[in-house]
């Protein structure tokens, strides 16, 4: 196992009280595999990523265990994390327009990673950076490496971010909604690129997204988060074929389809995401759920395996047969 996360919790101390952004997450990732983490805003998907990176805001606290290549990351000091971040775990972010430093040349921003983690000289590091920019298909990389971020388009900047993260050949790449801020056509290009690079460099990817299309394109396994908890976890294929959780079902049903003639209205999950300050004692999705049962408001459902399917777990009081579309 490359990454094993056990009972991960992320808690923020705010003026209004404690906010549990992530609650008891368990998952693991093999080398070279791709895990999708899906959920709407506030589901805790980004905080999970930041917790792995050790980059939570200063009022945030991580509990539980994150083991990366056998090394415990929860509670590791900044110095220890600085040896892992950028070297073994890379991260790319949602907004490529603001994620690069506008005051520094691309060459400086890329080269410093290699200088830091590989002890290269500046010249060698820039040469490596140019090679990597070529690999992410940035035309005329040799000249453009000396440009500033504002001279690149959004898609190009995200390519630069990806190239920068891959310089050290990390074992794990965390992509936090890498295509959300981009045009649809550019989105597809970036996803293609990520999938090619995964095969080329053998890097494992955690893809955080609210877009199930992205998951279908790229991921082996999917984690569906809601209110900081896992609702359903499955191989991507079996999740799309037969979702067993009402929330997953809602997400899938809300994807508009071109084939259905009579279904002209857009389907949405009614209600709003939960208030993390006042999470109900039971299932966090209960208030919006169409398959509500008696214990739902008071008893938190356990995450248990779906019978007859390996690698498929769900946290729901309703029976599988009830929820699963026929």
């Amino acid at each position: 196992m490359l990454l094993t996360v056990n009972n991960l919790g992320v808690r923020f101390t705010t003026e209004d009280g404690m906010v549990d952004a992530v609650n008891g997450l368990d998952f693991s990732l093999d080398a070279g595999a791709t895990l999708g983490i899906v959920g709407e805003s506030g589901s805790g998907k980004s905080q999970t990523a930041l917790a792995i990176m050790g980059l939570l805001a200063s009022n945030g606290q991580t509990t539980g265990s994150i083991r990366f290549k056998g090394k415990e990351l929860v509670g590791a000091g900044q110095r220890a994390m600085n040896k892992i971040r950028g070297a073994h775990i890379g991260m790319i972010f949602q907004d490529p327009m603001t994620s690069l430093n506008p005051y520094l040349k691309i060459s400086t921003q890329m080269a410093e990673v290699l200088i830091r983690h590989r002890g290269m000289g500046k010249r060698e590091a820039v040469q490596e950076s140019i090679k990597m920019l070529d690999a992410v298909r940035i035309p005329d990389a040799k000249n453009r490496v000396n440009r500033y971020p504002h001279e690149f388009s959004g898609g190009m900047r995200q390519r630069v971010m990806i190239a920068m993260t891959l310089l050290t050949r990390p074992e794990l790449l965390i992509a936090d909604e890498p295509t959300t801020a981009l045009d649809v056509t550019v989105q597809a290009q970036i996803l293609d690129l990520l999938s090619d690079l995964r095969d080329e460099f053998g890097v494992a990817i955690i893809m955080i997204t609210h877009d199930l299309g992205v998951v279908a394109d790229l991921c082996d396994e999917v984690l569906v988060l809601y209110g900081g908890q896992i609702m359903e976890q499955a191989q991507a294929r079996s999740l799309f074929k037969g979702p067993t959780h009402p929330y997953t079902r809602g997400l899938l049903d809300s994807i508009p389809s071109l084939d259905s003639e009579h279904q002209s209205e857009l389907v949405a999950i009614p209600g709003n995401p939960p208030d993390l300050l006042h999470l109900p004692p039971g299932c966090p999705f209960e208030a919006r759920c169409a398959w509500r049962h008696e214990p739902c408001p008071t008893q938190r459902p356990m995450l248990v395996g779906v019978e007859g399917e390996s690698h498929h777990r769900r946290a729901c009081h309703a029976a599988v047969a009830e929820v699963r579309p026929s």
Partner: protein, 307 residues
Amino acid sequence: MLSFAFKRLLAAIPTLLVLITLAFFMMRLAPGGPFDLEKPVPPEVRANLDAAYGLDKPLIIQYANYLGDVLQGDLGPSFQYVDYTVNELIAQGFPVSLKLGISAMIVAVLFGSMFGMIAAMRQNTVSDYGVMTVAMTGISIPNFVVAPLLILGFAVGLGWLPAGGWNGGAWQNIVLPVVALALPQVAYVARIMRGSMIEVLRSNYLRTARAKGLPVRQVILRHALKPAFLPVLSYLGPATAGIITGSVVMEQIFSIPGLGRFFVQGALNRDYTLVLGVVIFYGALIIGFNFLVDLLYSVLDPKVRAQ
């Protein structure tokens, strides 16, 4: 870039012209003249003096003549310091004021930035509140109050430093006036630096820098310092003006033979040309410095440079 510099210099001409005109007529509006002494001079002598300095001509002619002289770089003779031209007096006083002003500016930028950075990096802690309280105090108390207090404490009380005088610009003589002069500027710079640093620390690109595993020192020095400093840089223009006006008062309090003293003496004695000369000189200096700041800004910010 060059055309930008040229345009800026061209725009300075009307500014200076307005400055000269306003200063000239305001000076003349003030009651009294350079030769109104306690014991009036005989009328014949007075007429001769007026004729010698051109004060007998209509005001508008005097204005035109003065403007013509200024355009040739001649600020005229001083009325009070006989045998001295204003150019000579400025040449004499300016190096002293410059030394004082630049020292104060360096202190303001260095300490202001440092304090602002410390406050930002320890936001909402005791050190942050401490720095900001001191800064607010520094802004609120005018330096003509701070200066006598400093003299009282360090010169009269402890006897560590001289209470006044220049002594050729020895460091002992410089310390107190520079501290008094720089204090409000340190406070302003600290507040600006704190605000911009907090913003930069929250920015996405700083998170990227940390995600790259760079040590904190490198994250701050390479990624945060430059963008956080830009607002401070824009403030340096107004800061120059503040330090110049401050130094007029400080030179008076600490008996420093700089340009500010000439200015105050000139104003009291209705030394028309001297006051005008200093105003024009300082005006040009502030315009020039603002221009320099803009150039520097474009060097530091690649986006401005591209335009």
